[in-house]
Every structure is written in C-alpha cells, then in structure tokens.
Symmetry: D2
Subunit: 413 residues, 4 copies
C-alpha cells in the first residue's frame, strides 16, 4: 500500500495544472459570456483543443488506446487526478477530449464497435472532430430502475425502427454532435430475461423522424451543449448500427459506466477543492461582529468538515480507479456506485458551505459557486439517483452477510 503518486504521474499532473492555469482559466470569462448568449463557444474551445493535443494532453481517459489512436494511454488511477484538475473549470474536459458523454461513448465503441463503426464514429470522436450523445433517460421511466425504459427498437427487415421519447440527452445541441447512442427495448416479449431485452443502436442525428424537442434547463441553467429532449418517430437505421449485439443493452450500459463515473467524481472533487479555496480566501477577507469570518468557530467548522470529507471521498474514488486498473471494471461495480453516491452529495454540501461564507454574492453568477451547487444537486441524478446506489451498496453488503450465515451474530450477540 502506497499513497503517493510516482514522479511521472506527479509531473503529468503538474503539466495539466500548468496548462489549465496558462490557457484554460484565462479563457473562462469569455467562454461564460459566449455561453450566456446561447451559442456554443467553439471559438474558444477549438484552438485550445489543438493546443492540448499538441501538448500531449489528449484522450487521457482511455486505458486501452491503440497505437493508431491519438492520445496518451493512461490507467484510470493515473488519469483520475488529471480529471480533478480539469474539473475546476466545468467546460475544460472538452479541451482535452475527455468530456462526457463522449468519453463513455468512445469507451463503448472502443470495446464493441465493428470495424466500420470504428471508422465512421469512433475515430472522428477520438480526433475531436465530432461529438456524440447518449440517449437513455426517459420522461416516463423512473431512472432509478432502467428496466422501465420504454423506447422501442424494433427490427423490420434490415432496419431498426425506433420510437420513443428521451430527455436529458446531454450534448445533442453541440455544433459538432453527429449521432446518439440510443438505448431501447428490442425484445418486448417475455422470453428474454429482464436485463436482456434492451439494445443500443447508433442513430445519426439527421435521421428522419428524430426531432430535438427542447433543451431542458437544470435549475434555470441552460448549458450550451444542451440537456435535450429528443423525440423518435419511426426513426430507421440499418441493423449494422446495433452496438455489440441485440439484447446486450444493459451489459453495455454497465461497461460504460465505470470509468465515466470516476471521471465525474474526480471533477467533482476538483470543484470541491476550488470551493474550499474560495471559502477560505473569502473567510480571511470578510469580517462580521468585529473579526474575520476565518476566526469564527462555525466558519472554521465548515472549512474543516469540507476538508475531511473531500479527502475521504478522493481516496475512495482513487481506490475505485485502482481497482478498475487492477481487476477490471466489473470488479469495481459496487465501488463505482459508492463513489457516485458519495461525490454528488459531497458537492452539494461543500458548495453550500462555500456559498454561505460568500453571503448573498454566493447566490449570483459573480462566483462559480451557485452553478456548481445546483450542478451538484443535478449530479445526484446523473448516472442514477442516490437511491439506486445506496441499494447497490447495501445489497452487496447483505450478500456478504448471507454468505457469512450469521456467524458474527452467533459469536457476538
């Protein structure tokens, strides 16, 4: 057991930190101003992408990167601290081609794409020339139980015909977005097991019958890439567009989630660190009742609680990343539920404290706190609500207890 990073890893982290500080952070205000006007700030992002790729900070998230694929092949544990650093600017991951949902889609394609799919969809994604989205969540299905998904993917001859409504499809409004990976029921009969009835298919966004209904605000915030509602009415794609095999939708969804959640969680950690820094600096300069907030015991408590919570969460996330590297994504499934649960709630708590130190200013767009707080709240639903993850963790624990057959109880009670 060793809690320090290797010198190489530390150097990589330093390079990322420097890139962020020199190039990304100074561009932040402009990005935000453009985004506020509703346009995608491609003019800011595209040159930075080129720079990042040149600097060797590209596609850092994909441990299985092949030699003919652009980017730096890193393990999950090596990548995790880089995601933390990127996280300080919510839009920064795209600069390094490491942004959701494309990362998850690239992983999926990397694992399951046919040669043709690889050429047409994966390589452009890896080169940052194209973007994609992932259409899973539906208005009428509790996302806590994905077997409720109702969108149908019916095979008719050589085509799949897709009907249904998806929402919270992140990225569909991005100017480079070209296709969605769509999850739906391909086998409605009772023959297949409950988790073998769904499939994923690749659907180009310009396919007839596919409409972008609206962009959903999250706590009043419209992201420039969109969290969109998509309507599928008799949308037809060739059967060659199926990902993996028919009926393997859930297996793919599982495979997709592990690393992406680590990234997400580490970005959250980075945002919490940012909040702690801001909270401390503000507490040092702000006075009430005759002394700096930093000297008041309640404010000190908030700072300390945040510090110990963030440190614990980071260790948990890093351990999950290590486990994926050491034993594969499947072995880390429960751990990945745990980190998602822990991180999202952490973000809400830490950001809430930081806002409180800022006073009313913390409610405005004059700091990143209000956005990050509401985003933390949203994160409690992204990739499954807290309740799903609590359930997963509890059932794993109960399974161990079952295997133990009451041995502890027999001795101790």
């Amino acid at each position: 057991m060793e809690f320090g990073f290797s010198p190489d890893d530390l150097q990589l982290q330093e390079r990322m930190r420097e890139f962020m500080q020199r190039f990304v952070l100074p561009a932040n205000r402009d990005w935000l101003r453009l985004a506020e006007r509703g346009a995608y700030p491609s003019a800011i992002v595209e040159p930075l992408k080129a720079q990042a790729r040149e600097a060797g900070l590209w596609n850092l998230f994909l441990p299985g990167l092949r030699d003919d694929e652009p980017g730096t092949r890193l393990g999950n544990l090596q990548y995790a601290p880089l995601a933390e650093i990127m996280g300080r600017i919510p839009w920064a991951a795209e600069v390094f081609n490491c942004n959701a949902p494309d990362t998850g889609n690239m992983e999926l394609l990397h694992l399951f794409a046919t040669g043709a799919q690889r050429e047409r969809w994966l390589l452009p994604l890896l080169r940052g020339e194209m973007r994609s989205c992932f259409a899973m969540t539906e208005p009428d299905a509790a996302s806590s139980d994905a077997t409720n998904i109702a969108t149908t993917i019916r095979r008719v001859g050589d085509e799949y015909v897709i009907n249904g409504r998806k929402w919270f499809t992140t990225g569909a409004k991005h100017p480079l977005c070209r296709f969605a990976i769509v999850m739906g029921v391909s086998d409605e009969g009772a023959e297949a097991a409950r988790h073998e009835r769904h499939s994923m298919v690749i659907v180009p966004l310009d396919t007839p019958g596919l409409t972008l209904v609206r962009d959903l605000p999250i706590m009043n915030h419209h992201s420039p890439e969109g969290h969109c509602e998509l309507l599928f009415r008799d949308v037809r794609v060739p059967v060659a567009n199926v990902l993996g095999e028919e009926g393997r939708g859930f297996a793919l969804a599982q495979a997709r989630l592990g690393p992406g959640r680590v990234h997400h969680c580490m970005r959250t950690i980075g945002q919490c660190e940012l909040a702690i820094e801001l909270m401390c600096e503000r507490a040092l300069e702000r006075r009430a009742f005759g002394k700096a907030l930093a000297e008041q015991a309640n404010v000190q408590d908030w700072i300390a609680e945040s510090r110990v919570e963030v440190d614990q969460a980071r260790l948990l996330v890093l351990r999950a990343a290590w486990l994926m590297d050491a034993q594969g994504n499947k072995a880390a499934q429960v751990d990945v539920s745990a980190i998602k649960l822990v991180s999202a709630r952490l973000q809400v708590r830490v950001l809430d404290r930081a806002m409180q130190v800022f006073g009313a200013m913390g409610l405005t767009a004059d700091t990143p706190l209000a956005f990050l707080w509401t985003w933390g709240r949203a994160f409690r639903f992204v990739d499954g609500p807290d309740e799903v993850h609590l359930r997963t963790v509890a059932r794993a624990e109960l399974a161990k207890a079952k295997a133990n057959r009451g041995a502890t109880l027999a001795y101790y009670a």
Copy 2:
C-alpha cells in the same frame, strides 16, 4: 391555549383559498411564460389586483390600517394563514397588495411617515398604484453584520447627498416602482453609538445620480421585478425625505422586520405544503423496483420528516405572530429570528426531498420545485443569514442563563 382558528378566520382562509384556485392558479402558466421573456406580467397581475380588492382581499397584512386606508384590517395571527395560502404561487402576494418589499415599506411609512410622505408615497402604495424597493444590502459589507454598511447619507444644507452601492434591491425593475428607501451612514463620526449612526431616506428612482447597474440572477434565475444593483453617485434628496429621524436607521430596520418575516415564513410554509402534496402524488404514481415509490420506506421517511418539520415550523411562526399581536413586535424579536432561521432551512430540506421523488424532472422548470428549492437557499440570506439568527437566539438564551446565576448547575451538576 387553543390551537383552532375561529370560524371567521377559517372562513377568510376559505375565501382566500377559493380566490387562489379560481383566479390565480389558472393564470400561473401565462405569468411564467411572460416572465421568462423578461417582461413584467402586468397584464396578468393588474386585473387580478382589481378583483382581489373588490373581493375584500386587499392589504390584509397591516394590523394598523386606518379607516381611510383601503383594505381589511387583520392581526398578524389572522393574516399568517392567508400568507401561507398565497405562498403556493410565488407571485400571488402582489395580487393582494401583500408583497415584499412593499409590505415592509408600507409598515415603515405607516409608523413613521410625515403627513406629506404619507400622501405622496404611502397612499399610492396602499392603493397598489405604485411600487417601491428597499436598498440595504451592499456588496462589500457582510450582511451578517449590518453595522458594516458603508453607503453615506451626508447632510449638505437642506439636502442629503447619497453615495454608495447597493445590491439585491428587490423590485427595482418593477414597472410601477417609483422610490427606494435607502439605508446609509448619516453620522460617520465616533460620537454616536454604533447603532445610531444610520438613517433611512426616501429616494425617488428618477433622481439624478441613481443608476440601476444590473439585475442579479439568483441561481441563474432572473425575477421579472429584479434583484438589482443600484449605484448612488451624489444623489441629492431634500432633508424632508428622511424617514423617522436621522440616526434611527437601525431602530426602523428592526421595526420593519417582524411582520415581514412572518409573512415570508408563512409563504415558505405554503410552498413546503405544496412540495409535500406534489411529492406524495408523484410517489403514488411513480414506480421503481416493482412497486410505487410511495411504498418504499425511504420515500415514506422523506414524506413523514417533511410533515413533522412543516407542522412544527408553522406552529412556531404562528406563535410569533400571536406574540406580536399580544405584546408588540419588539417582544417577538428573538422569536422572529427563530422563525426566519427555521423556515429558510426547512424550505431547502423539504424541496430537496420533493425533487428527489420527481427524479430528473424535478431539476427542470416543468415543476415549481427547482425554483422553490433555489429560492429557499436564497431565503437563507434574505433578512440576514442563518448565522445572525442563530447568534440572536443563542444570546437570548445565554442572557437567561446569566440571570439565573448558575442556579441550575448548582443543583444538577
């Protein structure tokens, strides 16, 4: 001691409920649509105001209403449940001329206005023909300690010259808003005691030197009436515009806060009740893991916790209202701190639970939950952050203990 309302009070509540149901609720979508476009929905509100006034549901908040002033004279305890009912639609209070910050300003003017001030400012407010704002909070002063306020109100001859920057001045963008009550330092010398250096003056919004710098979003939300930043540069008003007397700013601020906080808290209670209703109805219809959310113990816990918290908070607020009626606003000062503290945090908790039951939909504008949750968070700053109120309540308790001179400790420890 009696926990039931009188038949008259109950009937008044029923009339309010009916008015809301028949007239206000059906207008809600239109109001929201107009507001989203950035315009003030006067076309919706003005006819409703006329109707409410005709229905005898007008200026219900002012116990001291004189015979020549329009409206129904109610005690705080009678009015409180009406505010709860109004609270279910955030903009509804204006329909009954019971909205902040005008209510607080009307109270102030009612208590302290000269005859001329009454004619020019109070009566138009009471008739609903004019609106006003209250400029107290400043960017560079922790609102937890209002003695930090830095805006200056200097007397020069027959005029006050005002310089400073205010923000979170709610209502300044309202099309009918005509004046601000401005709080500032009128005596910068060390002569006066720390709480006797500030004054309030009435400043017409069209006075030269007064600029509306910007409207501040609160968690990305722009209210159509605005939470504005105002800049005062050598703004001159006649000395006759002082409210009460010079140096009495803090005394006035205290007088102003009591009833307004009861209103605010009761509206919060109403919004929490709405959230409980929505959460229950959604839990009954939404399924996960093979059964309705309503049958899952964790969701039941959220509902029950919300119910017992709301019931307790309402009783505390009603008791404070009763105390104001029975012994005056000053006697209820600590109680008013307590209810503000309790209600704002309650709203965040209850709304958070309701959002969780709604899933991702709860994050959008498709329900009122996301707005009410973020508004609850903002409410934790409005009229002073939690910390100020905790401090007030604690100091009152410690004062009792001091008076007790260790008698309990002597007996019990």
Copy 3:
C-alpha cells in the same frame, strides 16, 4: 387560536414548579444514591407522595377522573406543562402518581375495567398503594410490528393459560408492583383479522408459572424499578381477568397510547430544557482558546439549535394534547406518532450537545446528562421505534394525497 395559558393553568404550573423545587429536587441526590445500591428508594418517594397528594398535585393525568377517585381532574393540555416540569427529575412523576406505566394502565382500567377489576386493581393504583406493569414487548418479535407478538393466551375452561416471554417490562421490580397487564395472542386461527387476534389480561405477579428472569440494563443502567424479562409458563388466570373483551388487545393498546405519549414527550421536553440551562450555564463559566465557550460561534449554534428545536417540539406536543381534549384520542393518533418520533430524537440531539459543552464530565454521573442522553436513545424504541411512527405519518399523508387524486400535480407540474 391562542398561545397563552389561562391564569389558572399558569398558577397550577407555578405550584408544581415550587413543589419540585422545594421538595423533589433536594431529595434527588439521596434518591440516586439509594438507587445506585440497587434498592428502590421508597423511603424517599413515599413521604413525597403523601405530600403531593395533600398539595392537590395527584393523579393529574386523568381527564376522566370520577368524583370518588382521588386526584385533580385535568385535561391533557392542562396536564402537559406539569409533565414537562416533573420531567426534570426522571423519578419525580411517581411522586404525583403520574408515572408510566401505571398511568397507561390506570387509563386502560378506567376505560375498560369491570366493577370488580376496578375495585381490586384500579383504585389501589389511583391511591398510589400499588403499582403495575405492562407486558407487551417480546425478544423475538420486532417491536416495529406488534402483530408479531407470539405469547399465547389460550382459554381453557374458565381460565386463560399464558405462555411466552416478555421483556422490557418496566416497573416489575418495584416493591409495590402487584400485577401485569399482558398482551398475547388469544386467537391463533386465521379466522380473525390480523388486528383482532390479541387480548390483554390482568396477571397478578405472584401467579405460579410467572418468573422474573432478569432485569435488563439499558446502556448499562439498571433502573431500580426494572426493565424486566418475564417468563410465562402455563400461567393461569380466571377469564374474568380479561380486559375489555377477547380479541380487543390492539384496540386497547391504541387507546392506551395517546395520553401516555404526551406525558412522555413533555417529560422529554422538560429534560431538554434542563439540558439547555445546564449547557448555557456551563458555557458561561468554561473557557477555551482565551474566551468563554459561550462566546464561540459553534457553541452558540448548539444552544440556538436546541432552543428552536425544543420550542417547536413543545408546540407540536401541546397541539396533540389539545386535539385529544377537543376531538378524542383517536383523532390524534397520527399526531401522537409524530410527537413520539420528534421528541425522542430531540432528546438525543439536545443532550448530545449539552454533553459536548461539559466535556468529559458530561460522560460521567456527575451530571444528569449522560443518563438522559442514553435514555433519549432508549426512548427511540419505547412505544414503538422511529420507523413505525415515520410510517404512520407517511401513510396518513399519502392517504390525503390519494383522496386528492393528483389534483395538485395536475395544476403545478
């Protein structure tokens, strides 16, 4: 609605306060010393009982007291604040013949006893000459669901034969304890509805086959009256000992619980008030980091949180008492679940904070805090664990929502 007590009620409270201060409080140390030795401190309690009865502070808890029954007939709402005052000394209620479980048993007998039962059991209890216990909880049945109760009460000829094991039978070790009211299954067949299979019978403690197995410590604390485990092996009592009717056990249990919970909750409130006083007095005298704890913001927060929580809880309990007086115990059933839930958790929280202010001393028997904290924890199980009450409150809320048929959702979402 009126939040003040009448002058008569206030005077009664003052008399109770004085009696406690003059007679009970000074006897506390002796009571504790005797109890620690394991004996029941009758030498302390009996004279105080005589005094209290003479002072007209006797059987204050029973609204239905008949003219030939000793004591002062008070409504629940009148009695509640007296219970709060008594609560400050955990053993004080017995002085006024107002202690559990005898109060509940007296209520039951008052409502359901036959003439003979009244003579033999109720009147001696009302006179304070005898004590009783209530045998309901069982080791092998989750107390969250009393239909699990397994003790059998089989009718054989003119007798009931009782078999089973009960525990947490409070009071069975009291020197005056003469009988238990025992709850068990009288109809094991499937004929009766699930809540109509149980009965209650009166069992004299000296009946053959009834053994007091052991006294259970609660967090290491042995109360002198005992929380006992009782074993029933073919215990026979005449059928005349049934309370009410066969099969009415649950109905009786429900009837029994209302007022007793109000008493319990008010005693808890009294103990929380005591804790706040102690915490404040200690905070004023104790110093750390150069100033009194009372001046540190975190300690102030604990005091303020405690104050607002206790005030809210008290109002909720008083409202439940009022509802019982106004509409009967049944109407208050959900409210009574709510107050039980709220009060028990409150006690744990408030006492925890007080202990923290006392430092290590708070862990010892040098103050009442450690006992009251652990007792608060136990209270979370007494009369049903939190989860039962959360469920009760939630189901009541959901029932309202069902009746509303989605009307709120239709309008607001």
Copy 4:
C-alpha cells in the same frame, strides 16, 4: 499509488484474524462476566498474552523497536489493519501488548527515556509485566485547550513536588499498573511561551500523597482498568523522573499522540465493521410489515451509508499511517487530527444504526452495540474533543489560503 497490501502484510493480518478467532473471541464472555463483577480479568488475559508473544504477535505497534526489545517491528501502515482486527474485542489489544495508554507511554519512553528510565519502566512495559497510565485531563480545565492544565510540578531541590487533580486517567486500577506519566505546569511565570511551560514526570503510583479518589463511570460503564480520578498532594519524585526535559511537556504530548490515534481509529474502524456485520445479519433474520428488514429501503440506506463511511474513514486513517511512516509523525499532525475527528463521530453514527436494526435488544448488554455506541461518544472526547480537531484542520486550511494570497478568488470570483 497502490491500494493493495503486500502478501506479507496480508499474511500477518490473516494470522491476527485467526488468533482472535481461535483464542480471544471464545474468551470474550468470560472476560465480560469477570469484569462485570468488578475484578480485572487477569486470569483470562495473562495466558493469552503468553500465547500471543509466542505467536509473534507482540508489541506490533512500535516501528522503532530495538533488537533487544521483544516484539515484531512493524511500520504504522503495517500495524494499522492489525489494530482494526483487534478492535473487534475492546479488551483484545492488551493480549498483544498493544493497548492504550501503555502504547503511548512506551512510545514516549522509547523516544525520550534516559537509560535508567528505560530499564526501570520501559522494558517491563514492553515485556507486558507492568502497566502504566497517563495523567493529563483535569476536572477544571477544558480539555479542548490543554494550556488550561493547572496541576503544578514545582522543582524543590532535587525533587519535583506535584499538586493537582487529574481525572479520566485510564488504567490506574489495573492490577499491574505501577506508574503514571503526569503532565503539569513546571514554569508558572510568564517568561516561557505558552506551550513551553509544561513538563511530564514519571510518578510511581505508590508515591505518598497520590490518591486514587474514584473510578469514573462513562455512561454508567465501569471499565475494570478504570478511568480514574487521581489526587496529587505534595507528591514528591526525584528530578530524574522528568521525561525529556523540563518545559517540553507539550512537545512530548504531540509526539505521543500520532500513532496512538491511528491505533484508536483503526480499532474504531474494526468495531464499525463488526457493527455492520451484526446489522446485516440481524436485518436478514428480523421481519416487520411482512418482510425482512434487509428488504426495506430505509434499513438498506443505513447499511449502505455505513459501508461508504467506514471505507472512506479507513482510507483516511491508513493514509495518515502511511504519512507517518514516510515523513514522520510531525508531518502527519493535521491528518491525525482529521482521523480522530472522523473516526469518533463515525462510531457513534454506525453503532446507532446497528442498534436501531436490533430494536430494544440493541440497548442491552446482550450485544456489544450499546457499549460500543456509548464508547464512541466518549471517544469524541478522548485525545481532545471534536472542536479541537476541527479547529486544527481549519487552521491548516486557512494557512494554505493565506499563503495563496487570494489567488483563487482573484481568478474565480
């Protein structure tokens, strides 16, 4: 970074687990029965000590063990998981000569003892022939601020004369306890800095003037080794008994605390793991409302929350152990405050949940839960109350922010 233990470490953990399972666990009931009678269960412990020493599981806690000192030299990170395993039985650490406060005293003596002190006090401790205690806490000094310590250690000729009162001196009642390390003020003048006025001296327990006043129960629990109150009246020891140098008391206290806290925290983690196992096994077998508790979402939540909290806390503690090994105890000072804070509160929370699953049984001595819960509460004071550690962590964070000179704020707000 590497989250797995080496095969050697794993094997050592397995040996410890086996020893506990085969020898210690079966002796638990007898130990408890003897302890309940008030005697020290030496008859159980001494044979186990011999066995453990033979098995090479002896003095595992001391990284600096010399070749002539009995025991296995392990780093803190290697030892930590062994402490977790020992922790499952509260008295087990003594079997391996790894129990507080002797471990801390052995560390102190190891670092600072003169040759004579080593012979007389340290070697017998290392051989398990003698025990010791540590007299620091005082009744009249808030333990949150140890500079309040008032016991005086005055040099008079070749002797120190000690006067004062100490309490919570753990272990003073142990039959093998021979000496105390006493912390007191040796320089009352204002010359020395606030943290250079205290010294530690070795005081044999049979020194005239030293009285064991009483054993303090903690939540009614008397540990057989005692948490004692000691009175020092003109207690004289030779100046050779000073530890380190005069005026170095605080430096020594700091040096002493690091590893001991890791041990303590890891034992807590072990107890929390035990609680989770018990809670799960109980939840599987206990039924309410028609199904096992294990299937109810609220109980699942408690299990899951416990799992993720324990895992996070363990990682934090292990990282602190690693930091001590890598950079020395001083470098880990803030981390050690953090783990103490986190672990103590964790124990209260996890044990509370486990008790709730057990129902009323959880309150009794029929399971270890009640004791461990109250002990967790006490642990929140041992080695400093939460508030001290929160303050330490906050100040470290604020120091970083000060060094940053507002750089983050400048960029982000």
